[in-house]
Symmetry: C2
Subunit: 547 residues, 2 copies
């Protein structure tokens, strides 16, 4: 199954540890950021080398292997930092993210299986449940005594979570909820842990109380009995072979009037009393919905961080290979040139390495923000929004970067890059879907735009403040408004460049940061103006902004 002699790619990797001296060690410490020690401890406790799955394992074997590894991960003490809001500290919150990052150095199926079990299933209980529910379910979930699903996506609705079709209807006479999938399109699908292992699911659906739809809520629904047989009213199917993550058992679930007791509704944001009356601490249904989703932001942060790590692993493989692999004789010597001597090769890898560091540092800021905001019950709602915007944006950027970069690395290793034992194709296949789950990238970037515009409105007290610019701009239409904006930016740039000497400006990090901020300000300015100029109620015109 494997080539008998060492592949040229595995040699450089074998030397991994020893190479980390001097500059390498310093860079690695810088990338670990404030949490260097925590990360070193994690990597030592769970070395990635023991975490590599034989890529030739079939679907069934890969699932068994993955579940066993997940058990070892938990036995080593990982994945236990998912705690309810009231017990959260910056430490617990950070640790939960770093645990996830630690395993993504190894097999991504194990990481995603933990993401489903600890982050999503455990996270929904911790983030959406109340004390009694934490008591009853959380430790069992984290310890893998109950394997569970996070059943949000339906066949008909993925990005548009608000339109889920599953109903959670309260039957006041019986004191029970009835969970139901009215149509074929209402079946939950792509749900991790559903096809084989899950016994309990956090199911999202429209909460109907006394005929009134209170919007999307989440309820715990048992799926299988102790022997693994599906319970009455529950139909489960296997999503089968996927483009990657073969170790995760994704499946679909359909509910036919499944009854669960009243205390199974995760009711931190909204609850139903025995008498059938609904109550919530958040009156506005829209705000309630977004608060629920906000409580789940950790998953998105993890996926972005995991993608960043996959990209760095790939870059490390390709760069070490590029240093050692030679091809074509140097014209004036008998030696062959290492690939990295070719500028075309440098151009493939070096800018990506620089970008990987930049994204890594940005991710470190994000996880610090998360630790701070999510452990502070009294946090400013604006901090929460900023956190969500940053998480959405960095998830999209990191995953897009990872997919492009791993592919570049694969090609930079030539034929060796295509051999599964050299990891690149596996990384590529597994990371692919990171662009889609925990929020499709396109939809996330729209979220970022909305978040940024909301801030803008807050600062400027409504877009109407732009009255003056608008008044003249409207006369000549969108394109000219844009040009005016660009003109303003150019003027500001020229003014600044004049104030600073060229030489200082080039090496001044503050100046670079300022220029970036300026660019952001300019983009938001012009987007806001275009939206204002357009009839904001018109789907066609808002849609036009996507172009």
């Amino acid at each position: 199954m494997s080539t008998a002699t060492a592949s040229p790619l595995t040699d450089p990797l074998a030397g991994d540890g020893s190479a980390e001296t001097g500059l390498g060690a310093a860079l690695s410490t810088a990338l670990d950021g404030a949490h260097h020690r925590r990360r070193v401890a994690g990597r030592a406790a769970f070395p990635a080398d023991g975490m590599l799955r034989d890529p030739a394992l079939g679907l069934a074997e890969a699932r068994v292997w993955t579940l066993r590894r997940l058990g070892e991960f938990v036995a080593a003490g990982f994945g236990q930092s998912i705690v309810p809001v009231e017990r959260a500290t910056p430490e617990t919150q950070l640790q939960s993210l770093i645990d996830f990052e630690t395993i993504t150095y190894g097999d991504q199926s194990v990481a995603i299986k933990s993401g489903v079990q600890h982050g999503l299933f455990g996270g929904a209980i911790a983030g959406l449940g109340t004390a009694a529910q934490h008591e009853r379910f959380l430790t069992d979930a984290l310890q893998l005594r109950i394997l569970g699903c996070f059943a949000m996506t339906e066949r008909g609705h993925g990005s548009d979570v608000a339109s889920l079709e599953t109903t959670i209807s309260y039957d006041a006479d019986a004191g029970e909820f009835v969970v139901h999938s009215p149509h074929e399109s209402s079946a939950k699908t792509y749900i991790g842990n559903a096809a084989a292992d899950g016994h309990l699911a956090t199911v999202f659906g429209q909460l109907i109380v006394d005929g009134v739809n209170q919007g999307v809520h989440c309820i715990l629904v048992p799926l299988r009995d102790a022997d693994g047989a599906t319970l009455p009213g529950v139909t489960i199917g296997d999503n089968g072979h996927k483009g990657g993550l073969l170790g995760v058992d994704n499946g679909w679930i359909r509910f036919d009037h499944v009854r669960v007791p009243r205390d199974m509704l995760l009711d931190r944001f909204g609850s139903v009393r025995a008498d059938g009356s609904y109550s919530s601490t958040i009156d506005n249904p829209n705000r309630r919905f977004f608060s629920m989703l906000g409580a789940l932001v950790r998953g998105r942060i993890c996926i972005g961080g995991g993608a960043a790590i996959a990209a760095r692993v790939a870059l490390s493989i390709a760069t070490r290979y590029g240093e050692r692999r030679t091809q074509f004789r140097h014209p004036h010597s008998d030696e062959e040139s290492p690939l990295l001597d070719y500028l075309a090769h440098q151009r493939k890898l070096l800018p990506a390495i620089a970008r990987a560091y930049a994204l890594g540092f940005a991710q470190n800021e994000l996880i610090d923000d998360y630790g701070r905001v999510s452990s502070d019950a009294a946090h400013d709602p604006r901090d929460q929004r900023a956190l969500e915007t940053l998480a959405a944006g960095l998830k999209a950027l990191n995953t897009e970067f990872a997919n492009a970069t791993i592919q570049t690395c694969r090609e930079a290793c030539g034929g060796a890059g295509y051999m599964s034992e050299n990891r690149l194709t596996q990384l590529r296949a597994d990371t692919d879907v990171f662009a889609t789950f925990e929020g499709d990238n396109t939809v996330l970037l729209q979220l970022v735009a909305k978040g940024v515009l909301t801030d803008y409105r807050d600062v400027w007290g409504g877009l109407d403040r732009l009255g003056l610019v608008q008044a003249s701009a409207r006369l000549v239409g969108g394109a000219v408004i844009e040009r005016t904006g660009a003109g303003l930016l150019a003027e500001r740039l020229v003014a600044t460049a004049r104030r600073k000497g060229d030489a200082t400006a080039f090496y001044d990090r503050g100046w670079h940061a300022w220029m970036f901020e300026e660019r952001e300000r300019h983009s938001v300015d012009s987007l806001a103006r275009r939206l204002r100029a357009a009839d904001r109620d018109s789907f066609e015109q808002v849609n036009a902004m996507q172009d």
Copy 2:
């Protein structure tokens, strides 16, 4: 293994045939080009639907399935148009390319297995052998009575074929050749048909006659006996699991002083007489080497065409899905919006569709050129060079486009795009390596640059004709030369735009073509100037042009 209910992606595909009316049919005919009938007949004789491999098949099963399908392909009369130069007509040459394109609509492992067996193994016999060898081996190869390998790449040398280490030494006393892999790095690797099925190989190595190295030649070497056991001196290993193309049994081969009779050397371009004297119709060893490689250009054309088809299949899947899949309610109606109503979604797919047509039309020109040039024994060497340059360039562009586009399509289908039954991840994994084999894309683009510069020198009678421009340019260095070039182009553009009214220019295809040519001329101009300005013997400076 598969979802019990129809996936949203398979519905649109089921309606494939009926949708091809009106504009669709016209576009499809246009894309088929001059060979519409031939292609329709091919697709009818070998419908892609019956060609889809269960993605969950393991390595061993996938190989068995692929070999069986290859047998059906041959039984249906395909793959039989690989003929020796002397029997080639434009018809045979085109048919051999169209046969390959036909199967790439289905499973890529079958296509590549045929590519190895018919195109490479059969093609090497047809293109590098002489009449007696054609007689003895070609029909058996095409009919799958002998399964064979094309063993060029070695562990140490892939792109740099001229530096292969395998030796083919003539032993005049025995009247035999001795084929040997002197080092571990000399082992052939990634060789299709080697791990399981191949019985005979066309092996490339340095031909040593009477102590003199005559450069790379190709010899037939038996690998296995009738029972499939490797022959004495032959060691074969399995490359194992790959990033895709699981149905192709790639492996490595090492030769330990393996003896083969004198008549096994494929000696169209160079032969060894019984007395041990070497002779060739081409005196210059460098020209001889490139003539041999030129005789193998078909493979490169096939891979570009196969990638183009994979991209079109993906675009067809994603576009049909985008028309039917809805997500998010339209603000002013109760309907949800089809994905293709979002400009962001259009921007992902529509430019790629346009580009797919453009590349398809270019590929049609290329295959016509191939039919004409390769069937004309008396063709102008410049036509051959133009063909090779075009083949290299289009192979690189098509495969790069395919990889980027299939990924875009995968993401445009959201979670459904990641399910293997919907084909996109499989297409992506299989097509990935098209960027690497039959010539690594980066190296091919360097070939194109060299080809274009050689033409330039031919036309201008040596770069020295540029004396005047050079004289002034040298004073101020590379960057300024560039700017001057750009200035010239800009002037020409302005002059042309003035001559033509805006409105006419926009819709005038001749004008667009002229602009493209102008841009090409400008690029070559400046590259030639930069090379001339540099010390052309300096590796560092030529390397700098890659940046």
